[in-house]
């Protein structure tokens, strides 16, 4: 047993205090597994660059303070602001409480997470920690006739002012065969107290479904997040996924995509922008079990001030997955000499007939471009911001959900202004 454990009895008490319902058995089993392993430590290759000590510390203090839900931070203003900024049908989960203020259309069923929501074989320390404390959660079912006129947006927002808090979110979305859907998952937080959000998202995309999915993380500067998305894809399904990480102090996202049906087509794009004091880690794993199928990932990072980002993109092509086409790229722009990027593209290929590529770059602002813009009268900071914006544009421009474009561009611009003005958040 390694270091990052939580006090057994206090955690067991917290789990026992949850209402006795159809998930009780699942919670106890997950608790037993979590108590045995604890949080992953940096001794594990997958966690080498991201230390969860701070996460364990917040969780411990939360347990010590009684592990009661604290709901003393007014989130309404922020919820309204976010809802008004994007034209979508909204489902809001505020401090774990689900509300459906938007009109959810025909062909879309929304329920709280229950026993039937559980996907088989989904484990791991953070998923177990999540399952052990799972209460509400969301289970969404999108049928083939659901209209995609407006995107469906999930706002998961939490935070507390007086005491450290831990929030567990679990979302499962099933896309029926032939469904055509556009989803936004928006993660936000407010509140002065230390906060740890641990989310598990499961996407089951059936055959011939086409899914555009955008995840936006814009947490408060003192908050931490671990987030894991598990995707399962059916025959000829299409997933266009875009992730934006703009806020947060310590953030770790895992995106695991299982390609177990032929002719699936997956595009993943991501942009992370980190300033002083931030640690943003994105791990992507695409497991090609059958072919032919295509996956492409491109992540870009903009780093300023004293910060650290991690990118690990892994594509596995299993034996027999012939006809796989897998690309991955990661490009980073460093605006200060105090930031660090740990980038690791990985390919594991066990099949013969495959086309795979990977590449990573780390660079700085191009001096000749900077001088060119300044020689035309642009301020050094304006010129830097223009060049930095241009660097991120190749991800922003690929946003598959147009309704999000304006508000996302504004969010990115705010962060770039912070960074080019000196690197603080």
């Amino acid at each position: 047993m390694t270091g990052l454990t939580l006090p057994d009895k206090a955690l067991a008490r917290a789990v026992d205090s949850l209402p006795d319902d159809s998930l009780s058995g699942t919670r106890q089993a997950a608790l037993a597994r979590f108590l045995e392993r604890g949080f992953p430590t940096t001794r594990l290759e997958d966690w080498k660059y991201t230390d969860l000590k701070a996460v364990a510390d917040i969780s411990r203090r939360w347990l010590e303070s009684g592990a009661v839900p604290v709901d003393d931070c007014a989130l309404e203003t922020e919820i309204e602001r976010i809802r008004a900024s994007i034209d979508a049908d909204w489902i809001v989960v505020a401090n774990g409480e689900v509300s459906l203020p938007g009109v959810v259309r025909d062909g879309i069923e929304v329920s709280t997470y229950n026993e039937s929501s559980l996907a088989p074989g989904f484990e791991g320390p953070l998923a177990d920690f999540n399952a052990a404390l799972l209460t509400d959660g969301l289970h969404i079912h999108i049928g083939p006739d659901a209209s995609a006129d407006k995107p469906l947006a999930l706002l998961v927002i939490d935070g507390a002012d007086s005491a450290p808090a831990v929030a567990q979110t679990r979302i499962r979305i099933e896309f029926d065969a032939g469904a055509n859907a556009r989803l936004v998952e928006y993660q936000a937080s407010r509140g002065a107290a230390d906060h740890y959000a641990n989310a598990v998202v499961e996407l089951d995309i059936a055959g011939d479904a086409v899914v555009d999915y955008v995840r936006v993380q814009n947490r408060a500067a003192n908050h931490t997040q671990t987030h894991r998305t598990e995707v399962r894809l059916g025959d000829r399904s299409v997933l266009r996924y875009c992730g934006f990480d703009l806020g947060g102090k310590l953030v770790r996202n895992d995106l695991d995509v299982e390609v177990s049906a032929p002719e699936a087509d997956v595009s993943i794009a991501g942009l992370y922008i980190a300033g002083d004091g931030q640690h943003l880690d994105n791990h992507v794993r695409i497991d090609h079990q059958v072919g032919p199928a295509r996956s492409a990932q491109e992540y870009r990072g903009i780093l300023g001030g004293r910060c650290r980002c991690v990118w690990n993109g892994k594509a596995i092509v299993q034996q027999g997955a012939d006809g796989t086409d897998a690309e991955q790229a990661n490009h980073n722009l460093l605006l200060s000499d105090r930031c660090e990027i740990d980038a690791k593209p990985e390919l594991e290929i066990y099949a013969d007939d495959v086309k795979c590529s990977h590449g990573t770059t780390v660079g700085q602002i191009d001096d000749s471009a900077l001088f060119y813009l300044r020689s035309r009268g642009l301020d050094k900071q304006d010129a830097m911001r223009a060049l930095t914006r241009a660097f991120g544009a190749s991800i922003v421009n690929r946003l598959p959900i147009a309704e999000l474009a304006e508000s996302l561009a504004a969010m990115v611009e705010t962060r770039l202004t912070d960074l080019t003005n000196g690197g603080s958040q």
């Binding site: 471009a369 035309r376 009268g377």
Partner: protein, 250 residues
């Protein structure tokens, strides 16, 4: 307008300008010629404020101000324009964005109202028409994927929009076909004005057929070897540079 006195500049350990003096008055067109490596581009870049070159001696005064104390953007707003020998490609930064930001930075500096999107487009289309440029260039990344000739026309477009008081064109004529050369010359001639000065850095006499200079200077070894009127350019075309260097060494 521009008074360069005894200017020396180096990059790393290499001295490139070595005691250069040059005076340019409003209304004048000067051509600076000289062999490769003589310091022509360095002179242009030093006047524009490139940080790669350290000024080790001498002074540069522009409209009575110590130019060397100004940041590159301040020089631009004060009316200096450098047409680059190798215009930089900046993918993702829109040509229209740059032109508008440049025009407005200058206007703001002089206490004028910024141009709005409508005025800007009108002005840009007018100038592009003059240079025979397709307005679709506005929506492309700055110089991104432009041919050599398109890049040089784009430099002239920026100059036409900014209406500088001192324009320095660094080999804007090199690599141009005859139509592009004429378009560039047209842009330069349109700018000629008793209030403005133009410095043409060039290798060849060809551009000077279209833009008549008042003075021609020959730069060699980081200083001006000889100055004259436009007949000097013709003489150089005929004889090359060696006779001048030999005469200087004699």
């Amino acid at each position: 307008m521009l008074e360069i006195k005894n200017l020396s500049a180096s990059t790393g350990d290499t001295t490139i300008l070595d005691g250069l003096s040059l005076t340019v008055n409003a209304g004048e067109v000067h051509a600076i010629m000289g062999p490769n490596g003589s310091g022509k581009s360095t002179l242009a870049l030093v006047v524009a404020g490139h940080s790669e070159y350290a000024v080790t001696d001498g002074s540069v005064t522009y409209k009575g101000k110590d130019l060397l104390q100004l940041e590159p953007e301040e020089r631009a707003r004060e009316g200096i324009f450098l047409g680059f020998q190798y215009p930089v490609e900046i993918p993702g930064v829109n040509n229209a964005y740059l032109l508008k930001a440049a025009v407005n930075a200058k206007r703001k500096h002089h206490g004028q109202d910024e141009v709005d999107a409508f005025e800007f487009l009108k002005l840009a289309r007018e100038k592009m028409g003059l240079l025979g440029m397709d307005p679709k260039f506005l929506n492309r990344g700055v110089n991104e994927g432009f041919s050599g000739g398109e890049k040089k026309r784009n430099e002239i477009l920026q100059m036409a929009m900014l209406e500088p008081e001192l324009a320095i064109l660094d080999e804007t004529d090199s690599g141009l076909d005859i139509d592009a050369l004429k378009a560039v010359a047209k842009g330069v001639n349109a700018l000629r004005d008793p209030q403005r000065a133009i410095i043409l850095v060039t290798h060849y006499q060809r551009l000077l057929d279209y833009v008549q200079p008042d003075y021609v200077h020959v730069l060699s070894g980081g200083k001006i070897l000889r100055s004259g009127d436009k007949s000097l350019a013709l003489e150089l075309e005929e004889k090359g540079y060696d006779w001048l260097r030999e005469a200087a060494n004699a």
